[in-house]
């Protein structure tokens, strides 16, 4: 047991990925920031004593408290409070958890759908490939945010209002996922086209391995590198798409705000001098998306040496 762990650790240490990671300060810094954000968001109950989603715990008299370092600030509200007396820091962390859940789920949804279609299209070719790829072409001409808005609008029409608040998060995941899958389909198809003519695939085919086994057991691991790169950048895009939709008011309901909803609600107070209500969620979103993007860039450089 101990030995195995050691060898795994050694394997990681010996790998080119690890080497390139410790040689890249941006990758280290962004990973560090992301770990902190993920940890604080997913264990927010232990990080902060406030629960902004429980209206009965709020006191309206605390509303509009500025950040603690300003003149009227209170030590117990480090980043101040919003118009309903919610602690900004706690609200941002709870909100970023929703943003992250939506972002991750949407990317995984898009990845599974896109890779499955791209892989099979590249492998089988023919009419099937043509249909799938024309689908992606058509969808790529529609801006992804418009696509997400469309899906959300249709979902609103189908789902009853009582159900909508509960379903909002799933609708959002589906809407963003469906708008991002063509990227994955294209990349995985292109990679599959390269792989499928290699000798190991021909060899498997000759000894009678089934198509499904060849695709998912032999080809899939070899096309995962570019897909992971796209996936990381896609995560940042999904988080921003979620914020955009929520900012437009079609995302998660205001009682359980995500980052975008927080920025929208804070927008009302921009002119009146209560800048912190919209500023902190916005800067948090920037840091989150920027870190993911930097990490994605590093991954692209490392996992895709052909690009260098």
């Amino acid at each position: 047991m101990d030995n195995q762990k050691l060898t795994l650790l050694n394997r990681i240490k010996d790998s080119d990925i690890y080497f390139s990671f410790i040689k890249s300060p941006t990758a280290i810094v962004s990973t560090f920031i992301l770990i902190i954000i993920f940890f604080c968001s997913f264990f927010v109950e232990f990080v902060t004593p406030y629960n902004p989603f429980d209206p009965s715990s709020l006191s309206l008299m605390d509303a509009f408290t500025p950040p603690s370092w300003t003149e009227d600030g209170l030590a117990k509200f480090i980043l101040g409070t919003d118009g309903q007396g919610r602690d900004m820091l706690a609200t941002i962390l709870y909100g970023s958890r929703i943003s992250l859940i939506v972002g991750f789920s949407a990317v995984i949804f898009a990845l599974v759908l896109g890779v499955t279609l791209g892989l099979t299209a590249g492998y089988f070719g023919g009419k099937y490939e043509m249909i799938v790829m024309r689908f992606t072409d058509v969808q790529l001409t529609v801006p992804s945010i418009l696509m997400a808005l469309l899906v959300d609008g249709i979902a609103r029409g189908i789902i009853s209002r009582e159900m909508h608040d509960e379903m909002a998060i799933y609708v959002l995941i589906f809407a963003i996922g469906i708008s991002e899958w063509p990227q994955f389909a294209r990349v995985s198809r292109a990679a599959t086209l390269v792989e499928k003519n290699k000798d190991y695939v021909s060899a498997s085919a000759i000894i009678g391995v089934s198509n499904i086994l060849i695709m998912f057991k032999h080809i899939l691991p070899n096309i995962m590198r570019p897909v992971l790169v796209i996936g990381t950048i896609g995560l940042a895009l999904a988080i921003i798409a979620e914020a955009t939709l929520s900012f437009l008011g079609v995302g998660v309901p205001p009682t359980t705000p995500s980052l975008g909803t927080l920025i929208r609600l804070g927008n009302d107070f921009l002119f009146s001098g209560e800048w912190w209500i919209t500023f902190f969620p916005a800067i948090f979103l920037v840091i989150l998306a920027f870190s993911i993007n930097l990490l994605g860039d590093w991954m692209r450089d490392t996992l895709n040496p052909k690009l260098n």
């Binding site: 309206l60 118009g83 007396g85 009302d268 921009l270």
Partner: protein
């Protein structure tokens, strides 16, 4: 060749200059919501009346100081306590050039009494309307009516011919979502006429050159551009895109005041914001207890005492509201300071009341709110949700645009809702007749009390003012003790405009552009 080019450039510049500095005086007016319909009798709602008031006129009207004065009728007299004669101006033309006669007035009054009219409560005491000659009409009331003029000031007159030609003899059935010609077109005798109507986007009013009145304004065009988002509305005002905002957000008043080119005016508004609770349903539609807790007065009182109205005033309204004990405000017949006193804010007492009523663990209910009608309406509701959460009442908030909110309320879909009430007649009767009378059209709490109903009849028919005032006072006492509604506060409104735009502020929040000017 070169000189010719220069000449062309000069001409172009001249053209640009001449078109931008034209003599047209346009006022771009914005508020958070739009008029719900242009049909003058279909919806009795603030912004709807605000828009209609620029286009349509009534027999009598309230001036800038809110006193009743002549409009289409230049004089009137009551020959006996129930028979009135109104003498119409003979120089009034509709904006299409047609003469306005007693036929049109009779038609309009009868139209406003149709079942689909939302103004029928105003004139429910009128039993007959007759044209005596071309410019005289006779109105008979069921009983002597001391507030007939107040009521008539809100009944707009439209053209019988126009209504017949466009198949709008009956008012639009707004509650049923009917679309009619009159809902998107208006043709009245007023100082302006509507030339473009795009609901919720843009409404263009042009000066009506056929208007009979003495033109005191210098406005050639008004554009109503509703902007729902408060920050966007203020940004539009500050950037000069909008000239006047008649519901400036309370949080931005200081910012607007600090701008050199803008001014802010505030006045207590004739409107009270309150919450209604359905007291008749056997089971709440959105509840979890299987019964209706609102049937018990203790529960209603618990909710009342759990609301910290001072906190709402300070934090949500930024001091610009006046906590209310009854749904009427100073200046209305029947209002007294003593009645307007609130029950104290007391969470402990509220919890005890709730426990005594049999709900020690509270209950669940949905609160319906408009999000583009009253000052900070959604923020008030969110605050109330938190306050009621503290006594264990688990409220979920459902905020939506006012047209849907009002429609669904009228459709009896609300257990617990927010509403605001103004009193255009400045008489308590209006409040009782709409909000408290058994089966009244806006009595969505289904309050019913025979003594109140009897008092309403007295208010309609009693000319002895002492007796009438006693009836009003008694009715207020009953509904106040009953906690039929949860009053919140009287609104204070603020208008913000460019310094060169002068639109006199009025306590009913209704701009009168015929008294406005652009310098």
């Amino acid at each position: 060749m070169k000189t010719k080019n220069l000449f062309k450039i000069f001409l172009t510049l001249l053209f640009v200059f001449a078109t931008s500095i034209s003599w047209a005086k346009t006022v771009k007016w914005s508020m958070q919501g739009d008029s719900l319909t242009l049909d003058p009798h279909a919806q009795n709602e603030g912004p709807t009346t605000m828009v209609s008031r620029q286009v349509y006129e009534a027999l009598v009207t309230r001036g800038l100081d809110m006193s009743i004065g002549p409009q289409l009728a230049h004089k009137w007299k009551a020959v006996d306590p129930t028979t009135w004669y109104f003498y119409l101006r003979e120089d009034v033309k509709f904006s299409n050039g047609q003469d306005m006669t007693s036929e049109d007035v009779v038609f309009s009054l009868l139209r406003a009494q149709q079942p689909t009219s939302d103004f029928k409560e105003y004139i429910s005491t009128i039993i007959s309307v007759k044209a005596i000659d071309k410019y005289t009409i006779q109105i008979k009331t069921r009983e002597p009516n001391p507030i007939l003029l107040n009521q008539l000031s809100n009944i707009f007159v439209m053209s019988k011919q126009w209504a017949t030609d466009n198949f709008v003899i009956a008012p639009q059935n707004w509650d049923a979502g009917q679309e009619t010609f009159s809902a998107t077109n208006a043709m009245g005798t007023g100082p302006f006429k509507i030339t473009l109507r795009e609901p919720n986007t843009k409404t263009v009013f042009k000066k009506n050159n056929k208007w009979w009145g003495n033109v005191e304004h210098n406005i050639t065009e008004i554009q109503l551009l509703p902007i729902k988002n408060a920050a966007t509305r203020v940004a539009a005002l500050l950037s000069g895109e909008i000239d006047i905002v008649t519901d400036a957000p309370v949080q931005d008043l200081d910012r607007i005041k600090s701008s050199a080119g803008h001014k802010v005016e505030s006045t207590p508004q004739m409107r009270t914001i309150f919450l209604g609770m359905d007291q008749a349903a056997d089971q709440l539609r959105t509840g979890n207890t299987g019964d209706n807790p609102f049937k018990k007065k203790e529960v209603r009182q618990a909710l009342y005492q759990a609301i910290d109205i001072e906190a709402i005033k300070k934090k949500v309204m930024r001091g610009l509201s006046e906590p209310a004990g009854i749904i009427t405000f100073p200046g209305v017949t029947g209002y007294t300071k003593a009645l307007d006193k609130r029950l104290p804010y007391d969470v402990g007492a509220a919890k005890k009341l709730l426990a005594d009523a049999g709900y020690p663990d509270g209950f669940e209910v949905e609160l319906r709110c408009p999000n583009d009608r009253y000052v900070n309406d959604e923020a008030i509701c969110t605050a109330v949700v938190g306050m009621l959460g503290k006594i264990g009442v688990n409220v979920s908030l459902f905020a939506q645009t006012k047209s849907k909110h009002f429609k669904e309320l009228k459709d009896n879909q609300g257990d617990f809702y927010m509403l605001g009430w103004g009193v255009p007649t400045l008489d308590s009767h209006y409040v009782f007749h709409y909000l408290y009378e058994t089966d009244a059209s806006w009595n969505k709490v289904n309050f019913s009390d025979s003594e109140v109903d009897a008092a309403i009849r007295v208010m309609e028919g009693e000319v002895d003012l002492d007796k009438r005032n006693a009836a009003i006072a008694n009715a207020w006492k009953i509904v106040r003790d009953n906690i039929a509604y949860l009053p919140l506060h009287h609104q204070v409104i603020s208008w913000a405009s460019k310094t060169n735009v002068n639109v006199p502020i009025r306590p009913n929040n209704e701009p009168l552009f015929r008294f406005s000017s652009v310098d």
